[in-house]
C-alpha cells in the first residue's frame, strides 16, 4: 500500500517540492528512507516513530520504505518530518489520503508529536503556491511567516494529531500569538527613528555622497582619519533608502528565512549588513549547504557596509568582485552549485593610511613603503568597482552647536523622487537604477553637452579616467542630475562626478 505526501526542502536560495512516498509491506520490521537524505532526515525515523506512538496512533509493524522524490535532489533539514509521519499514517490507513495529494506539509516533529517550526517556512509557502498545492500545514510558530504568501491557505497545527484532523477536514489551530511579522514600516517612521542625518554636523561632501549612493545605488568608499564620522554617516544611509517594493520584500524575507536563526519577517526596510573585518571569504559568501547564507546574499536589495575595508583579508575582498559586477553569486561547493541573488550597494570605510592621518597637516607618520602597502590592499579590480571615493576630513566636521545641513526625511524625499525618475526612464530596459546601466544605456541616457564632452575627453586624455571610468562618471553624473531634477546631464554634474572618481586612490599626488 503506497501513500504520497508533499513537503519541501531548501536548495540554496530556492525551495523545492519533495514528494514523500511510503510503502508498507509485510516482513521484518524496518523503516528505510531513500532519496539522498541528509543526517537530519535519516534521524527523522526515530522522531516519526515516537511521535506516531505518543499521539495515540499505531506504528505499522511491517517493512516501511519511504522514498523522497526527486531522487537526485539532496534533502536536508527536519522540515520533512511531518510529511513523513502523515504518509506513514496514511499508508497504514490511520489518516485519510485524499487531501494528502493537494496539501503541503512542512514542520519538524518532537517526540511527543508536537509540530515545530523550522527555517525556510516562507520559501516553502511560496513553493507550495507555485507548484499548485491548495494548502500548507505548518507549525503554529511559523504560521504567520507562511501567511505572508497571498493566495495559499495556511493551516497551523499544534501536533501530529491535529495535522491528521486537518487532513480529515477538521479546523486548524490558531497561529501562536507574539510572532506577528514586523509590519511594513512607513517611510516617515524610519526616517524619524533612531538614525537621522540631522545628527551629522558638517561633512557636506560625505552627506552628499551618501545621498548619491542611496539615490543611484552607487558603490561608495569613505576615507578619512579616525573620528571624522565615516561609520556614523554610513549607518545613516538606512534612514534615506527608499522602502522595498512588496515583491522585493518577500524576496528579502525568503532569503533571511533560510538562515539558521531566521524566521521570515516582512519588512519594507532595506537590509543593512555590516560584517566585522575579520570575516572570511566563506563568511561573506556563504556556502551551498542549507542555512549557510553569506553576508553579501543577506545584503541583497540593501547595503553591505564594510568598515575598515583595508583590514579585510585579500581573499575576502576579491570574493566581492563577482557579486559587485553581476548582482548575483554563483557558489560551487563539492558537486553542488547554487546561484544566489546579491544585488547590493557597497559602502566601505577606511583610513587613508596605517596611522590614519595622511593629509591631516603632516601628522602622518607613515613611510612611503607603508603607504604603498596600504594602497595595494585596496588597489586593482575592487577599486575599479567603486563608483565614488570621498575623503572625510577633520576640518570638515562642523561644530556641535552648528545647525544640521539636512535631515533624513528631506533627503529621503529627494532620493525617492530621483529613483522614480530613474525607474520611469529605465523601465523600458527592465532596470530601476542608474548603477545598473550598461555602456550602451549610459551613453543613451547620460548625453552630455559640448562642454561636458570636452571635459570628459580631456580627463581621458590626461589619464585621469579609464574607459570604464568614463562610463562610471557618466552614470554618477546622471544620478546627480536626477537628484536635482534635471532631465539632462550638465557639465557641472560631470565635474562633480569627476571630483569623486576613485582613480588616483587614497593618495593622489603620491602615486608616481
Amino acid at each position: 500500500m503506497i501513500a504520497r505526501a508533499h513537503t519541501f526542502t531548501a536548495d540554496g536560495p530556492h525551495v523545492e517540492r519533495v514528494t514523500v512516498e511510503v510503502e508498507l509491506r509485510r516482513g521484518l520490521p524496518a523503516f528505510v528512507v531513500v532519496g539522498l537524505a541528509d543526517a537530519a532526515v535519516r534521524e527523522a525515523r526515530e522522531r516519526v516513530r515516537a511521535a506516531i506512538r505518543n499521539c495515540g496512533f499505531d506504528f505499522p509493524s511491517g517493512r516501511i520504505t519511504a522514498n523522497l522524490a526527486p531522487a537526485d535532489l539532496p534533502k536536508a533539514g527536519p522540515g520533512l518530518d511531518l510529511a513523513l509521519a502523515c504518509a506513514v499514517l496514511a499508508a497504514s490507513g490511520q489518516a485519510p489520503r485524499d487531501r494528502l495529494g493537494t496539501y503541503g506539509l512542512f514542520g519538524e516533529l518532537g517526540l511527543s508529536g508536537e509540530v515545530r517550526g523550522c527555517p525556510g517556512t516562507l520559501g516553502a509557502a511560496q513553493a507550495a503556491l507555485d507548484t499548485g498545492l491548495s494548502a500548507l500545514v505548518v507549525s503554529r510558530a511559523h504560521a504567520r511567516d507562511a501567511a505572508l504568501v497571498e493566495g495559499l491557505r495556511i493551516a497551523p497545527v499544534r501536533d501530529l494529531r491535529r495535522a491528521v484532523a486537518v487532513l480529515s477536514g477538521g479546523a486548524p489551530d490558531s497561529p501562536l500569538p507574539g510572532r506577528e511579522p514586523r509590519r511594513p514600516s512607513p517611510p516617515e517612521r524610519a526616517a524619524v527613528g533612531r538614525l537621522d542625518l540631522c545628527d551629522v554636523r558638517g561633512q557636506h561632501h560625505g552627506v552628499q555622497a551618501i545621498v548619491l549612493a542611496a539615490a543611484g545605488g552607487h558603490n561608495l568608499l569613505l576615507s578619512g582619519a579616525p573620528g571624522t564620522g565615516k561609520t556614523m554617516l554610513a549607518h545613516r544611509i538606512v534612514s534615506i533608502l527608499p522602502p522595498l517594493s512588496p515583491r522585493e520584500a518577500v524576496e528579502v524575507a525568503r532569503i533571511h528565512g533560510l538562515t539558521r536563526d531566521g524566521a521570515a519577517r516582512l519588512s519594507l526596510e532595506r537590509p543593512f549588513r555590516a560584517p566585522h573585518h575579520s570575516a572570511t571569504a566563506a563568511g561573506l559568501l556563504g556556502g551551498a549547504r542549507q542555512g549557510w547564507v553569506g553576508e553579501v546574499v543577506l545584503a541583497n536589495r540593501g547595503v553591505l557596509f564594510l568598515d575598515e575595508l583595508s583590514e579585510f583579508s585579500r581573499p575576502a575582498l576579491e570574493a566581492l568582485r563577482q557579486p559587485l559586477e553581476e548582482g548575483r553569486l554563483a557558489i560551487v561547493r563539492s558537486r553542488r552549485s547554487q546561484v544566489y541573488p546579491a544585488r547590493f550597494t557597497l559602502l566601505a570605510a577606511t583610513n587613508p593610511c596605517p596611522c590614519g592621518f595622511a593629509g591631516e597637516h603632516d601628522r602622518c607618520a607613515c613611510s612611503e613603503a607603508q603607504l604603498r602597502r596600504h594602497r595595494l590592499r585596496l588597489s586593482g579590480p575592487l577599486l575599479d568597482r567603486i563608483d565614488m571615493l570621498v575623503h572625510l576630513r577633520r576640518d570638515g566636521v562642523g561644530h556641535r552647536d552648528a545647525a544640521p545641513l539636512t535631515s533624513s526625511s528631506r533627503e529621503r524625499a529627494r532620493v525617492l523622487a530621483a529613483r522614480e525618475r530613474q525607474a520611469s526612464r529605465l523601465a523600458r530596459d527592465g532596470l530601476a537604477l542608474n548603477c545598473e546601466m550598461d555602456a550602451r544605456l549610459t551613453l543613451r541616457h547620460a548625453r552630455l553637452d559640448e562642454r561636458g564632452e570636452r571635459m570628459l575627453e580631456r580627463a581621458h586624455a590626461r589619464g585621469l579616467l579609464s574607459a570604464r571610468g568614463q562610463h562610471r562618471a557618466l552614470r554618477l553624473a546622471r544620478t546627480i542630475a536626477d537628484l536635482d531634477g534635471n532631465p539632462r546631464v550638465r557639465s557641472r554634474d560631470l565635474g562633480a562626478a569627476l571630483a569623486m572618481r576613485p582613480e588616483g586612490g587614497l593618495h593622489g599626488a603620491r602615486v608616481a
Partner: protein
C-alpha cells in the same frame, strides 16, 4: 699596495680598484654598522685598502689581508665582458671628474653604457634629494622640479629610493628627460619598493650607477654612500624636503664639504617634515621655489622676479577665486563651500582646475596647486 695597472686598454678599471670593490663587499657588515653616522662612513670610505682592513676587519683582518693579497686578476672581472656591465675606475680619464674626491667611489658600474654617462655628464646635472617619508607637498614639488629641469635639458640625478627621489625621477621621466640614478646594489640587481617601478622606466633615457660589482645585493651602507655619488656628479644639489636631522641633512653637509652649490625648497613652518630645509635656507642655502630658481643657480636662464602662475590669470573669476583659496590653504571641498557657492559648484571648479593642470589631488582629499 698594488700599483694601478689596467688589464686591457678598454676594460675601464684597474685591478686595484676592482680589488676595492671586492673588499667593500667583504666588509659590508661593519660598513652597515658605520653608516648610522654618515661622517664616520665617509671617513672609512676615504681610507686606503690596507687601512680599511685594519679599521674594519676586526678579528678577520689577517685572513682578509692574506686573501686580498692573493686575489688573482681573473677573480676580479665579471665573466663575459660583452654580457655584463663593466666597471670604470677613477684612474681612467672618462671617470666623472666630480667623483674624484677623497671619499668618492673608486669604481663605477654603469648601465646602459659608459658612452651614455659621458653624454649625460656633459650636461648640467642637478641632484634632487630629500626625505623618504615625504609629505604630498614635497612629492609634488619634487616631481615638478624633476619635470621642469628635465624639460630644460638638465640631467636629474637622484637615488633609487622612495619618497622625494622617486618623485623627482618620475617627474623627469614624464618630461622624457635624462636621469642619473644611483643604486645601492649591483646595477643588475632589482631595487625594492616604489623605486623599482621608476628604475624600470629609465631604460635608455638615463644611466643607472653603482659602486659595487654586479650581483651585489642591496646594502644599507651603499644606500648612504650612493648619496655622495649623486651629490658629486651634480653641479647643484637641491634638498626638496627634509627633517632637521643629521641623517636627512647629510647630503647638504656633503655638498658644502665639496663646495658645491646647495639649494633648498622652503616648506610650511608648521610642518616637522620641512624643518631641515627651512633651517638650511636660514643658514644660507639658496632658495628654490621651482625649476626657474634652479636654472638661475646653474646660470642657464634669466632670473624671474618671483614665481608666478600665469595660467591662473586667464581663468574665469569663479575658478580663479577657488584656485586662490586652495593656494591659501583652503584646500578641501568642505571648507570651500560657502552660502553662495554650493558643493556641486565647488566640486566642478576643482575638477576643471585639475583638468587644466592647475591643481592636483593629494592625500586625504586635499587639493594642491601644481608646483
Amino acid at each position: 699596495m698594488t700599483t694601478p695597472t689596467s688589464r686591457a686598454p678598454d676594460s675601464g678599471a684597474c685591478n686595484a680598484c676592482l680589488r676595492r670593490g671586492w673588499l667593500l663587499a667583504k666588509l659590508a657588515g661593519p660598513l652597515d654598522y658605520r653608516c648610522r653616522d654618515r661622517e664616520r662612513l665617509l671617513d672609512a670610505l676615504a681610507l686606503s685598502d690596507d687601512e680599511l682592513i685594519c679599521a674594519l676587519g676586526g678579528s678577520r683582518r689577517g685572513e682578509l689581508a692574506r686573501t686580498y693579497a692573493a686575489l688573482a686578476a681573473d677573480q676580479l672581472h665579471d665573466g663575459d665582458a660583452t654580457q655584463r656591465p663593466q666597471a670604470i675606475c677613477r684612474h681612467r680619464a672618462r671617470f666623472p671628474a666630480g667623483l674624484r674626491f677623497a671619499s668618492g667611489p673608486r669604481s663605477l658600474w654603469v648601465t646602459p653604457d659608459q658612452a651614455r654617462l659621458d653624454e649625460l655628464a656633459r650636461r648640467p646635472v642637478v641632484a634632487l634629494l630629500g626625505s623618504r617619508r615625504a609629505s604630498d607637498y614635497g612629492m609634488e614639488v619634487g616631481r615638478a622640479l624633476g619635470r621642469g629641469l628635465a624639460a630644460a635639458g638638465v640631467a636629474v640625478a637622484a637615488l633609487a629610493r622612495e619618497g622625494i627621489c622617486a618623485a623627482a625621477l618620475s617627474g623627469a621621466l614624464q618630461a622624457n628627460g635624462a636621469v642619473l640614478c644611483a643604486v645601492p646594489c649591483g646595477v643588475d640587481v632589482a631595487t625594492p619598493g616604489v623605486a623599482a617601478s621608476v628604475r624600470n622606466r629609465i631604460g635608455s633615457r638615463g644611466c643607472v650607477l653603482a659602486e659595487v660589482p654586479c650581483g651585489t645585493p642591496v646594502r644599507r651602507w651603499a644606500q648612504a654612500a650612493s648619496e655622495r655619488m649623486v651629490v658629486g656628479l651634480a653641479q647643484l644639489t637641491i634638498l626638496v624636503e627634509a627633517e632637521d636631522s643629521r641623517r636627512e641633512l647629510a647630503p647638504a653637509r656633503l655638498a658644502q664639504a665639496l663646495q658645491r652649490p646647495l639649494g633648498a625648497v622652503p616648506g610650511r613652518v608648521t610642518s616637522t617634515l620641512s624643518t631641515g630645509t627651512n633651517a638650511l635656507i636660514d643658514a644660507g642655502a639658496k632658495l628654490v621655489r621651482g625649476p626657474h630658481d634652479a636654472l638661475e643657480l646653474l646660470g642657464l636662464c634669466a632670473p624671474l622676479s618671483a614665481p608666478c602662475h600665469h595660467a591662473g590669470t586667464a581663468l574665469e573669476p569663479e575658478l580663479r577665486l577657488v584656485l586662490e583659496e586652495v593656494s591659501a590653504g583652503r584646500d578641501t571641498p568642505d571648507v570651500l563651500v560657502r552660502d553662495d557657492r554650493p558643493l556641486s559648484a565647488v566640486l566642478h571648479a576643482l575638477s576643471v582646475l585639475e583638468l587644466r593642470d592647475l591643481l592636483v589631488r593629494a592625500d586625504g582629499g586635499r587639493y594642491l596647486r601644481r608646483a
